[in-house]
Amino acid sequence: MMASSYNAKEEDGPHSGTPGLGGAAVTKSKKPDNTAFKQQRLVAWQPILTAGTVLPAFFVIGIFFIPIGIALFVTSNNIKEFEIDYTGVDADSPCYSCAKDFSWNSTTSCTCSVDFKLEQPFESNVFMYYGLSNFYQNHRRYVKSRDDSQLYGDLSALTNPSKECEPYRTSNGLPIAPCGAIANSLFNDTLELYYVDSNGTRKEIPLVKKGIAWWTDKHVKFRNPGGNDNLTVSFEGNSKPVNWRKAVYELDPTDSENNGFINEDFIVWMRTAALPTFRKLYRIIQKKSSNTATLPSGNYVLEITYNYPVLSFDGRKRMILSTISWMGGKNPFLGIAYLTVGSICFFLGVVLLIIHHKYDTRNTSADIPS
């Protein structure tokens, strides 16, 4: 019974020697091992945070950050961006009438055109975005309301969409494809851009509609059920989303590589925005030649097929033209942030220097009792 009365002890430490049962056990020394680890004497660096020791770090950060800040700021400033709101809130705005009498169910589409003028030419590739404000695409129930399997081309999910899609799962007894609230609320305005040259003639600017989605989304995450040919048959047993005017296989009938679930406008929309004010890439205006600007300065007309209602929730719709740089779109924030932080660090470094010289004298004269 010896051992059981020792159980408690055994558990105390892995090395507390327990006597053997009945037999003559040679008592092993219980002396602990003299290793640096067990004696907690590992080689260690002990940084002591005082003004003196911390000083260099502040200056280094300051010196490092300010140039980055300047570079970022300059880069951001070089990006050209043009933005125009076409919601039609005001009575004098061209899309006022379209915005006013709207319903999701109307079959006729309302069009309006907005004139604008680019003061500066856009040199490189121009990205055309549509922007929505006050649109909570990040709402918890909204974000969840999709079926990734269905979009992946899973046939079972096509006929039996995920529960997450409720209440946009079935319509008239047929499963909706694509199901869910995100797909249901697909942005369906059509934007066309015309250049008005000096003599007043409109020239349509070619907008590239492919390449706007993530490559992985287009080629991996989104797939049409049963391949890209004959989508009509594939989606036969499905109903279109409630708010949609046309079925999913009619999104881009001209290009089978851009139709159905792999329609890039659809894919872009399905990537839910992080913040209530967001933009989504709509088209790309590719640079034609090296000597002419992609979008020369001058007058333009934006033709809008106004389908998407936002006024009910006080939303706004915008069209944005922007060039991009290595750090993305126009956003002076980071540059300013780096500049500010760099300067603050520099300033704090100076403060610490003063503190160090005025008060922190112990390190230099610690051995002289005061």
Binding site: M1, L21, H139, P167, A273, L352, R362
Partner: protein
């Protein structure tokens, strides 16, 4: 067999009332099935019950229930924030980690159980009519078991037969209580006469005994024989499971308790669980976290309601209907949202906090356990952590309650001086020899050469090494409990320690006593005279009374104990020296018969025939074990025996002193249960009065000139802490009188001395002995008084009758025996007193000084007498000579109250009148006690047990505390174990302080259990204290490192870790909270749910565990050099409530930074929810890890590794996760997100700036803190790197600034002392005059004596201040003769 039927009835009755257990032998009846069998199962679970039982146990922890509740909430479709299965993951993870740990532990237990259950033992088999080998687990209650030498007892067995001629069985109980000496167990009395082999088939008795209980030192019951005779059973008849049989060829017993009902198993309770102070504080902050969580949830819910309300029924496209298609009103929606938010924000309550804490604590325990400095080489023992979860409490102690004997002192007794019959024998030579040892000791510490400089010790060395070699392989020992630090060089100490594993308490130093020449001469003289008397047939009473006293004194020293004699060659083998056989007095009739013949005069030297042997042998019947001889035969037998013994005493030994025999005697070893006994026996041996053999009924003593004498041992009234004495009743072989020898504490013995009809000489002896006792006590010696008493036949008969009644009763036997002992021990005749030195342990004064510097208040609670305690206190620097000492001795409640009042006024007038209003009247003291440190003066308080009893009364305890806590040291003498625990409890509860109790003996157990942290010294007095303790140390001095270093580290590590945990979770959750403002308070999270849930468990877990285990804010050396640093833990500076809130604020700031920098960087861009959320997660992780970096004081490669590993882990997991499944983990579906992010420069730019901004304030604050207002700990940390300078510089200049209260107190105290006390008005009721009776120079060493005469009514209270140039005992001594002293002092009577 006629009694069979009533017995059966009894059995049934026994089952009904459940008060006793009836054991029938398995040879007669069916096995006693209803009692537990011997199979042990210490496992908690079986395969089937594991899951439900373990889960049930785990759900006792509230946090687990909470997290399961939240995980289940997730299954409600309207609320679910995450994938329900995923939300279960962390809870399941935590539960399964704990379950696996439990399972593993259980498996280990199971393995050891199986091993034990399958041990073999010999059990009597009815069919085979012989003993057969069986497994332990097959043993049943009622089985007969044959035990052989060195076997482990498989169950609690009642000893029925032993091969030992004395019917003894020797056992070693080291595994049960750690005591290393052999213990004797006796065969049940009715089987005593059985000579041949015990035959189980002939056994037909029934045993009635008490229900299984865990008291190792108690067993009560009786055995009913077939002739309805009853015999009482005692603990000496019981062999406990786990003991080892030694020195006995064979023993047979019947199993009484088996398996889990054995006393050993009932005593086996696992490690203890306590909640530490830090954890209690932490739980409060967990509560605050819950409040913050609820506030956040309510805020979000209200926000969501408002957000929905603004659309006023025009449902926007992004507002999804509930799954059933119904529209939710803003109110229901916000209600749902509230619950959703609880799920989303659940991380705020740190799920892994408890698990992490446990892991860290186990690691800390491991490191404490591994510390070389806490390992004692001599004892080969190291610190044991028995409680695994209160390591951090070690860093917060404020009060230490220490036992004295064995804790501060070695508990190794060295005989120093004695007084016999009023004459003091100072043993100067012995003192010189001891001093020499010490000198040599210190010399040889330096040079290790072992020359023959000291022939004496060398001879001792060789003397001891010889037996050691013989017996080393035989001995099995796991604990060595002795140390010999002072016995000479280290080598010798080591040898001695190996040796001491064989014999208890017998270092060379203790054994060798250089006799006092004067006393030796008298002893020889006495022997010669006795020899003369014997030759001339004169009675012993003709011996001169002083010589008779000396003789009696040494006889008492030799026999009044429980020392077992063993021969040096075989330490475990008892010396067998039986001169005659005689059974102890069993019954009153027996006695009467024995003593009826009036031939008790020693002169009757009749040469009666030795018919004893034949008589005895005829009485021994193999078959008739209970054949009681007729009264007639007994009578004659006893008569003859009587004469034989007398005859024998004088004739059987050679008349002359045999030198050779003496030499042999000198080699005998004594094994004692308490070290003083051994010291006394060895001392007596120096005077050639040596104990040569001890049997249960007989003690053999060798006396100078007289040779061997055997004393018939009639009764032994063992020592107990209440009586504080032990007695033996013997029949003196020379005078043939019934003599009682009593040995005990002087306070009790002195009260029992017969005073009324004694002569002048006796009174003188009494008086002088008292004086010498005071002297001894003042020298710090332990004093014992030796007294004797001669009983005449009638007295003895009368007493014996009552005593036997007491012995045979089952109910309240202890009490009855106690009373019986009290009846016997009266009207004693004082023989003398001894002074035994109990050495201080090494380093005790230094440790106490160091702990005191660390701000710990040290109270010593001891059972010793006041003078001894005071002097030990001086020796160990608990009291300083320049300190004033308040001594409280009161005889009644009223006088105690008065004394306390006076003391309080005294303190107030002396120390506080001038300085501070800090001190408050005692009535409100309990409420004002929270402020620490309180005023501690240079005052010592000494209080004795009786006064303590009054002071602990409810009405006085506040006053007592008020007095005690303003004293620097408190010494409670003569305190009982209960009082010890009451004092600890009082201080702990009333002052709300952290208490540590340290002790080594069974009397400290209650105190150890009551204190916040109990420390046991695994020393001389067995393992009971260790078993009850949380930490067990080999030595007192290790307390220093345990508290100052490990305590400090554990506390600061855990405090930092807990704060960091709260910070980490709050910071992470706040990110999501800020996001609610941008997602319509919809409960959406931009952080992928996998990251969210595994953030705590995986990505940020390791670094904090490493830091929590290894971080050192100050190095070990500095902590020990500057004990002041310990105060930070006492004041809870590592974890204050404001720190929690500061951390929370910092967490909110950092989360704001981590949220809004990406927010603005990605504002109005085409970023999607999770591509935006992933950088935020990364930034948060980096910030959190770097935050830990800022807080880490010591960077080892483990810290670096853990942080780099965490970052690496995050990225690799994220990359794998976002590369695998394109359709899984909706809604985040992070396919390729991380890869894309890593290809964008923006991501890196964010990673660079955000942590910098987030940590800037903290980093800056730390830098300024280091520069402007450095904490002592910070200074200490610097000390290591900086140049070495005197520690006192720091303590004077820097630390004192921090602790101005303490310093002002210290600086004021001596100043106050110089000013003479003034006449002060008390509360108004009691005007008090304190008269200065000395010059200022003397005042420095003044003591204040507050004494009250015992009489009630109008009592003069006297404060006497007297100079104490000499040793302090003089004042105490003087106090004893207070009349003369007080007369000299000016005093004023006080009317109560």
């Amino acid at each position: 067999m006629a009694a069979e039927v009533p017995r059966k009835k009894k059995k049934r009755k026994g089952r009904e009332n459940k008060k006793t257990r009836t054991v029938l032998p398995n040879t007669l009846s069916e096995p006693n099935q209803r009692y537990a069998n011997n199979q042990i199962k210490t496992t908690k679970y079986t395969l089937l019950s594991f899951l439900p039982k373990n889960l049930f146990e785990q759900f006792h922890r509230f946090a687990n229930v909470y997290f399961v509740f939240i995980a289940l909430l997730n299954f409600v479709p309207a609320l679910n924030a995450f994938q329900p299965e995923l939300a279960l993951a962390p809870v399941l993870f935590i539960l399964s980690v704990t379950a696996i740990k439990d399972l593993w532990e259980d498996f280990r237990r199971h393995r050891s159980d199986t091993e034990i259950n399958h041990l073999d033992c010999l059990v009597y088999c009815r069919e085979h009519r012989r003993y057969v080998e069986r497994f332990w687990k097959e043993v049943l209650v009622g089985d007969f078991i044959r035990l052989r030498c060195n076997e482990v007892v498989p169950a609690d067995v009642l000893l029925l037969s032993s091969s030992d001629p004395d019917r003894l069985c020797h056992i070693e109980t080291a595994t049960l209580d750690g005591e290393t000496n052999l213990k004797q167990r006796q065969v049940v009395r009715s089987f005593y006469d059985l000579d041949c082999d015990f035959d189980p088939l002939k056994y037909n008795s029934v045993i009635e005994c008490e229900k299984p209980n865990n008291d190792l030192n108690r067993f009560r019951g009786y055995i009913i024989h077939s002739n309805s005779r009853r015999d009482a059973l005692y603990k000496v008849n019981l062999l406990l499971r786990g003991c080892t049989v030694r020195n006995t060829e064979e023993a047979v017993g019947i199993v009484i308790y088996a398996g889990h009902e054995t006393k050993a198993m009932l005593n086996n309770n696992g490690p203890r669980y306590k909640r530490s102070k830090l954890e209690r504080q932490m739980n409060l902050d967990v509560f605050w976290c819950v409040v913050i969580l609820l506030v956040m949830c309510v805020f979000a819910a209200v926000g969501h309601g408002l957000w929905m309300f603004q659309y006023r029924g025009q449902r926007p496209v992004f507002e999804v209907l509930s799954p059933d298609g119904s529209d939710l009103s803003p109110i229901t929606s916000s209600l749902y949202l509230f619950l959703t938010m609880i799920i989303v924000f659940q991380v705020l309550i740190p799920i892994s906090l408890y698990v992490s804490l446990e892991i860290v604590k186990v690691c800390q325990v491991f490191f404490i356990h591994q510390d070389m400095d806490l390992y004692d080489e001599d004892l080969d023992s190291r610190l044991q952590c028995r409680a695994l979860n209160i390591t951090e409490d070690l860093g917060q102690m404020q009060f230490i309650f220490s036992d004295k004997t064995g804790t501060l002192t070695e508990n190794k007794m060295v005989f120093r001086r004695c007084t016999v019959a009023g004459v003091e024998y100072s043993h100067d030579a012995n003192a010189r020899r001891l001093a020499m040892y010490q000198e040599i000791d210190s010399e040889e510490e330096e040079c290790t050469s072992r020359g023959g400089t000291l022939p004496r010790r060398d001879s001792i060395g060789s003397h001891h090494s010889a037996p050691m070699h013989h017996s080393a392989p035989v001995v099995l020992r796991s604990h060595s409990t002795k140390s010999h630090r002072r016995t000479g060089s280290r080598a010798e100490a080591k040898r001695a320690s190996i040796l001491s594993k064989h014999t208890a308490f017998s270092s060379p130093m203790e054994k060798d006593v250089t006799p006092d020449p004067q006393l030796l001469e008298k002893v020889n003289d006495c022997g010669a005279q006795l020899d003369f008397l014997r030759l001339h047939g004169r009675p012993w009473s003709q011996l001169p009374s002083d010589l008779a006293d000396i003789m009696d004194f040494f006889i008492a020293l030799t026999i009044c104990n429980t020392v077992v004699v063993s021969s040096p060659d075989q330490p475990r083998h008892k010396v067998r020296l039986r001169l005659e056989l005689k059974s102890p007095v069993k019954t009153i009739e027996d006695f009467i018969k024995r003593f009826t013949p009036s031939r008790l005069t020693s002169g009757s030297n009749s040469s009666s025939s030795s018919s004893l042997a034949t008589n005895r042998s005829s009485a021994r019947g193999c078959s008739s074990i209970l054949s009681s001889p007729s009264a007639e035969s007994t009578l004659t037998k006893l008569e003859e025996e009587q004469q034989q013994s007398l005859n024998h005493a004088f004739s059987s030994t050679p008349p002359s002193y045999d030198r050779k025999l003496w030499q042999e005697g000198a080699k005998l070893r004594y094994e004692a249960e308490s070290p003083d006994e051994a010291a006394l026996v060895y001392a007596a041996r120096a005077y050639k009065c040596s104990l040569v053999g001890r049997l249960p009924d007989q003690v053999t003593v060798e006396l100078p000139q007289l040779g061997k004498l055997s004393f018939e041992l009639l009764h032994t009234l063992g020592f107990d802490s209440t009586r504080k004495r032990m007695s033996v009743v013997v029949r003196h072989p020379l005078t043939d009188e019934i003599t009682v020898y009593t040995k005990g504490a002087d306070s009790v013995i002195m009260d029992l001395i017969r005073t009324e009809d004694t002569g002048k000489r006796r009174k003188k002896i009494l008086f002088r002995t008292q004086n010498f006792l005071n002297l001894y006590a003042a020298d710090g010696l332990r004093t014992l008084c030796i007294a004797k008493k001669t009983l005449n036949k009638e007295e003895y008969t009368y007493w014996l009758q009552r005593h036997l009644e007491a012995e045979t009763s089952i109910q309240g036997r202890e009490e009855l025996l106690f009373e019986s002992a009290l009846r016997l021990e009266t009207n004693l005749q004082l023989l003398g007193a001894t002074g035994i030195e109990d050495r201080l342990q090494d380093g005790v004064p230094e440790t106490i000084a160091c702990l005191r510097q660390a701000g710990l208040q040290i109270w010593v609670l001891t059972g010793d007498k006041q003078e001894t305690a005071v002097n030990i206190a001086y020796a160990c620097k608990l009291l300083e000579p320049e300190e004033e000492i308040l001594t409280l001795n009161a005889n009644s409640q009223e006088s105690c109250a008065l004394l306390l009042e006076e003391s309080l006024h005294y303190i107030q007038t002396k120390f506080l009148s001038s300085s501070s209003p800090f001190f408050q009247p005692p009535s409100s003291s309990s409420s004002s006690c929270h402020s620490l440190p309180f005023m501690v003066h240079r005052l010592g308080l000494v209080i004795d047990g009786r006064t303590l009893a009054y002071a602990l009364d409810r009405s006085l305890e506040d006053t007592f505390l008020a007095v005690a806590r303003s004293c620097r040291s408190v010494l409670c003498c003569r305190s009982t174990p209960l009082q010890k625990s009451m004092v600890v409890k009082l201080v702990r509860n009333k002052l709300k302080v952290m208490t540590l109790a340290i002790g080594d003996g069974a009397n400290d157990v209650s105190m150890i259990q009551v204190a916040d942290v109990g420390v046991g010294i695994s020393g001389q007095e067995g393992m009971q204290a260790v078993m009850a303790s949380d930490f067990a140390l080999p030595r007192f001095r290790y307390l220093q490192k345990l508290l100052l270093v490990h305590g400090h580290w554990c506390y600061s590590r855990l405090a930092n870790m807990i704060l960091y945990f709260f910070y980490k979770n709050a910071m992470f959750v706040a990110l999501i909270f800020w996001y609610q403002f941008y997602c319509g308070f919809s409960g959406s999270a931009m952080i992928d749910q996998w990251y969210l849930i595994f953030f705590n468990l995986m990505f940020s877990a390791f670094p904090q565990l490493v830091t929590g285990t290894l971080d050192k804010d100050v190095s070990s050396e500095t902590l020990q050099r500057l004990p002041q640093l310990y105060r930070s833990g006492q004041n809870s500076e590592g974890y204050k409530p404001y720190m929690f809130w500061m951390n929370m604020l910092d967490a909110f700031y950092q989360s704001l930074v981590c949220f809004f920098i990406p927010y603005f960087a990605y504002a109005d861009s085409d970023v999607d929810l999770f591509t935006w959320g992933t950088p935020i997660t990364t930034l948060a992780l980096l910030t959190i890890l770097l935050h830990l970096g800022v807080e880490t004081k010591t960077w080892t490669w483990m810290n670096w590794f853990s942080i780099i590993f965490s970052i690496f882990l995050f990225f690799s997991v994220a990359l794998c996760y976002s590369a695998t499944c394109p359709t899984c983990s909706s809604p985040s579906n992070p396919y390729w997100t991380m890869h894309r992010l890593l290809s964008e420069p923006l991501f890196y730019l964010l990673c660079l700036i955000t942590p910098v901004v987030a940590l800037l304030p903290r980093y800056f604050y730390r830098a300024c803190q280091g520069a402007l207002f450095a904490s002592p700990a910070g200074l200490g940390a610097e000390l290591k790197t900086g140049p070495v300078f005197e520690p006192h510089f720091l303590s004077l200049s820097e630390l004192v600034k921090k602790d101005c209260k303490m310093s002002s107190d210290f600086s004021k105290a001596p100043a106050n002392q110089d000013t003479a006390p003034q006449v002060k008005e008390g509360t108004g009721r009691t005007p008090l005059v304190v008269t200065p009776a000395s010059t200022p120079l003397q005042v420095q060493t003044a003591g204040v004596q507050v004494t009250l005469p015992p009489a009630g009514g109008s009592q003069p209270v006297k404060y006497s201040r007297k100079s104490e140039e000499a040793e302090p005992w003089q004042s105490d001594h003087a106090a004893a003769n207070e009349k003369q002293q007080l007369g000299a002092q000016a005093s004023l009577p006080i009317t109560v």
